[in-house]
């Protein structure tokens, strides 16, 4: 059973997306220009969008399958999703956001996540008072706290400064290896894809135009 099976078609408005990829990789990077369909793929995996047909399976767990009539609701998919618009809950402070996701007895501890993402000084702050980079780190912390079986990160470090980006990438890689957590990582930056992924899908206008090892493709 491949680690990832992402084979589906989705049409919305004038945009159509078709993707077919099966692989045994642990970390898959989605790479391509804006509008190429990267975000639609992670949204379909998270359950934010429903494909017209196809199959989405991760680590042997089927999340969506038109043939088997499976469409797990988002709460049963066990994905830690960090979208581009981060979607922090504006009525909760940073601690409230991070702890919202805590499942009892599972996943990393609050201290671990706080340490990894360097958010210890902002726990009592309101979400509205955070900068773009701080919001991304808090949203990433929340995703990790949900004890996910798959991590979906949509440009997670786009607003994070360079020096911190390197440290967080190292930490993410460590966490991915320690928790054996499959990862789908959307990025425009080839250095991020190279740092975290062992397979990359290059997308253009809703189609996969290349797939393979990041060192060869990027």
């Amino acid at each position: 059973m491949p680690a990832f099976e992402i084979t589906f078609a989705l049409r919305q408005g004038g945009f159509s997306l078709e993707v077919a990829d099966r692989s045994d990789c642990h970390a898959l990077a989605l790479f391509g220009p804006s509008g190429s369909g990267k975000t639609s793929i992670v949204e379909a995996i998270a359950g934010f969008r429903t494909p017209d047909w196809g199959m989405i399976a991760v680590g042997g767990r089927t999340l969506f399958s038109t043939a088997d009539r499976i469409n797990l609701p988002p709460r049963l998919r066990r994905v830690g999703y960090l979208p581009q618009d981060v979607l922090l809950f504006p009525h909760l402070d940073v601690r409230g956001n991070v702890l919202y996701a805590k499942r009892s007895g599972a996943g990393p501890t609050l201290d671990e996540v706080i340490g990894l993402l360097e958010i210890d000084t902002m726990l009592g702050r309101r979400v509205a008072d955070l900068s773009g980079g701080e919001r991304q780190r808090v949203a990433l912390a929340r995703a990790l706290m949900s004890a996910p079986e798959l991590l979906l990160l949509d440009e997670p470090l786009a607003a994070v400064d360079l020096s911190r980006r390197r440290r967080i990438l190292d930490g993410l890689r460590g966490l991915r290896d320690r928790l054996a957590l499959p990862l789908v990582y959307v990025t425009h930056a080839s250095d991020e894809a190279l740092a975290v992924a062992d397979r990359v899908l290059v997308l253009d206008q809703g189609r996969v135009v290349a797939a393979g090892c990041p060192e060869k493709l990027l």
């Binding site: 998270a46 359950g47 934010f48 609701p73 988002p74 709460r75 998919r77 066990r78 994905v79 830690g80 999703y81 979208p83 618009d85 979607l87 809950f89 504006p90 009525h91 919202y100 996701a101 499942r103 929340r142 949900s146």
Partner: protein, 220 residues
Amino acid sequence: MTAGSVMQIAAFTAGAALIATLLMLVPGLAIAWVLARGRFRGKALVETLVSLPLVVPPVATGLILLWVFGRRGPVGRLLDSIGVDVVFTPKAVVLAMAVMGLPLLVRTARAGFEQVTRRHEKMAETLGASPGRVFATITLPLASRHILAGALLAFSRALGEFGATMVVAGSIPGRTRTLAVGIYSFTEAGEDSRAAALLAVSVAIAFAAVLASNRLSREG
């Protein structure tokens, strides 16, 4: 009229309006949520029915309530069989206030639910939250300012309720007489100073409620 009786009427009216507002909260929020999120046949009909008390003359609404809750009405007969009288009792005052205030609560709360993005709710779901938890911890708090503003508007409307109350509850001193009904009764009897005292209290309470409601809507 003594200051004591002015206070009695004011307290009775405010108390009845408060009970009416609390009673309409659960059905009002349920209707508002269904109208904001639901896609079903007959939605336009439900919208129209809910808004009807805003445009039908209050006296006509009172008459409908009188037919429905009177001893020979479909609901009144049922209540009478278990010893509950509604018409021309304080319960009728609360009933009239609730029916007349409900549309304002529903319309404002609906706007609140509509401005909560589905993406926030979906995000809460991916974090493991059940639909009930999503509603209680995300939808409701994010719509809370609109809900509170709607409740205050409904409360203000209930305070000033006249036509329906007059028909279904009458103007029984010390029992069903509210501020608005009292103003009318005293004016009709030529007791202008008593009417003026009730008028002042009525305007003061309504002013505070509408001011608070507007502030909440703006901040929301």
